[in-house]
């Protein structure tokens, strides 16, 4: 089996937002819609307080709350763990947006471009009518993964088959791969480090692992 997952090493993330920009450039999300974002957090207690940058977005959960509430089966989970939205089946009820514990869902209400009325080339190619009035979210760049697999590439190892946020990360904080493959980078990182997942108490089984060592 394959279980694609993302790993974010919070000891490495410097909050540069390059992943945010790369995602926006690649997926041409309109202003106000950000599939990959970075939280700015404070942890600890005075005087031992630390600032943490935490990349987040859709967690591609094992038990996605968005999938459970979706009335029209628009939200689906693939065998490899990637949660997808069929834009043609979404009715735009927004129940998934309210149900998601990670605030990862966005509804796009109009065709809006980053710089005025004229689209940039990426927006012209990626922001189509099918995404208007429906829920959208991070796809783990599923089209890159599928195209890369078809070309014999390995997601997480070959950039052509890897999400762009991971490719763009300047410090190597973001990694991607098959968590069921013990030799993959994400599996090894998870095995060798302390990690947590967001809202694991809710039983969603997120596919996003955060490496964190409280002692450091």
């Amino acid at each position: 089996m394959t279980r694609y997952a993302m790993v974010a090493d919070l000891r490495r993330c410097v909050g540069c937002q390059t992943c945010t920009v790369a995602c926006k450039e690649t997926n041409a999300t309109p202003p106000g819609v950000q599939w990959r974002r970075v939280l700015d957090m404070e942890a600890g207690e005075y005087p031992d307080v630390r600032r943490i940058f935490l990349p987040t977005g859709c967690q591609h959960c094992d038990e996605p709350p968005c999938l459970e509430v979706c009335p029209s089966t628009a939200t689906q989970k693939r065998a490899d763990g990637i949660v997808t939205i069929d834009y043609d089946l979404c009715i735009g009820c927004s129940y998934c947006a309210v149900a998601c514990p990670y605030e990862a869902r966005f509804k796009v209400d109009r065709t809006e471009y980053a710089y005025g009325a004229r689209p940039m080339s990426n927006e012209r190619h990626r922001l189509g009518d099918e995404k208007i009035g429906v829920a959208t979210k991070c796809t783990f760049c599923v089209d890159r993964i599928d195209a890369g697999l078809a070309a014999g590439k390995v997601p997480g190892a070959d950039p052509q088959a890897t999400p762009v946020c991971v490719n763009s990360c300047i410090s190597g904080a973001l990694r991607f791969g098959d968590m069921d493959d013990p030799d993959s980078a994400v599996s090894r990182l998870a095995a060798e480090n302390q990690w947590f997942r967001m809202h694991e108490d809710q039983g969603t089984g997120p596919g996003f692992y955060y490496l964190w060592d409280n002692g450091q």
Binding site: G32, V33, Q34, R37, V38, L39, D40, M41, E42, A43, L54, T56, P65, L67, E68, V69, C70, P71, S72, T73, A74, L89, C90, I91, G92, C93, S94, Y95, A97, V98, A99, C100, P101, Y102, E103, R105, F106, K107, D109, R110, E112, I132, G133, V134, A135, M198, H199, Q202
Partner: protein
Amino acid sequence: MSAITSYTQVRPYTRGWLALMAGLGAVIAVALGAVWHMEHQGHWVTGMTNQVVWGLPHVFAVFLIVAASGALNVASMGSVFGRVGYQPLGRLSALLAVALLAGGLAVLVLDLGRPDRLSVAMTHFNFKSIFAWNVILYSGFMAVVAAYLWTMMDWRAKRFYKPAALAAFGWRLILTTGTGCIFGFLAAREAYGAAVMAPLFIAMSFAYGLAAFILVLSLSFKMTRRSMGDALPARLVRLLGLFVAANLYFTALHHVTQLYFAGRSGVEAFILWNGGIHTALFWGGQVGLGGILPLAVAYGGCGHAPRKRAMMASVMVVLGGLAQVWVIVIGGQAWPLDLFPGMEASSTFADGHVHDYAPSAWEVMLGLGGIAIALVVTTLGITALRLLPAHLGEATGSCRSPD
């Protein structure tokens, strides 16, 4: 009240009838214009955002849908619980239930991101989704209540009257439970995610539905010059008081439970203390106007005749109910998700702070359109069919309850 109730249709095309229909038609036309604008431009013209995704149209829709199931209670009182005094009201109760549901669903559907895909929602069901179950429950409610109404009107179907009444009563309880569970199943949201949402919504439906019924009954009798004694409104307003008290009880239970849960004190402080418009609507609208004042009118001093008291209390319950649904729907979304408990989180994308929401005029128009649709359906129903009793006793003008 006579043992045999005679029902008569409302005479159409009178000056009052035409004025009413013209007024309601104008409201619906404006609402349709608002829908066209919102769908043509996109929801960015509304006050809704990606943080507050359900806005004022949902407040109206939820109110109407919840009131629909409650409006059927009057019929159930007569048929299921054998209260003879309520039996003449059964037909109007069933019609109003269908009408309110039609109005609520119209608003809900027209506010979807893709209302053109209603057929998709009706043909692709995710049976793990309570939302999908509600689509079935709402459709089934229409059918069950239509059958129930038929058994009330056709003497040949009299043997099905009791089974239909029981089915309709059971269905309405499940329907409101389903509506409450839309919020109760949202574990991610601190303001929701509680089993008490289901009984709370049932209590809300009892109060809203009866209030709507009293208003429609009183106004239709007044406009068609039908006589109504004091016994019925006195009984109805006391029953309304009971339902309002139940609503207050479950509201208190909900908030006390929330305060008891670790990690939910923030959202409770927001709703109860420092949430601005949401706090004002909770205490002033929901608790004061929609709770304490109607209780005082129902059970308090006798300054007015029962019919007037019933009308006053019902108006308060409707306005307070809209405030209550606002607090639940919008107040609950305005409070940000606790992405990392115990940590302060922020980002450039609306994380970690209270979300603003101000309804646009388009949303107000759509919501009012739902109410107008309900009233048009009701008016057409009592015009086309013999649903309205010819009289309900003689008015005495006394403020004292005869029973």
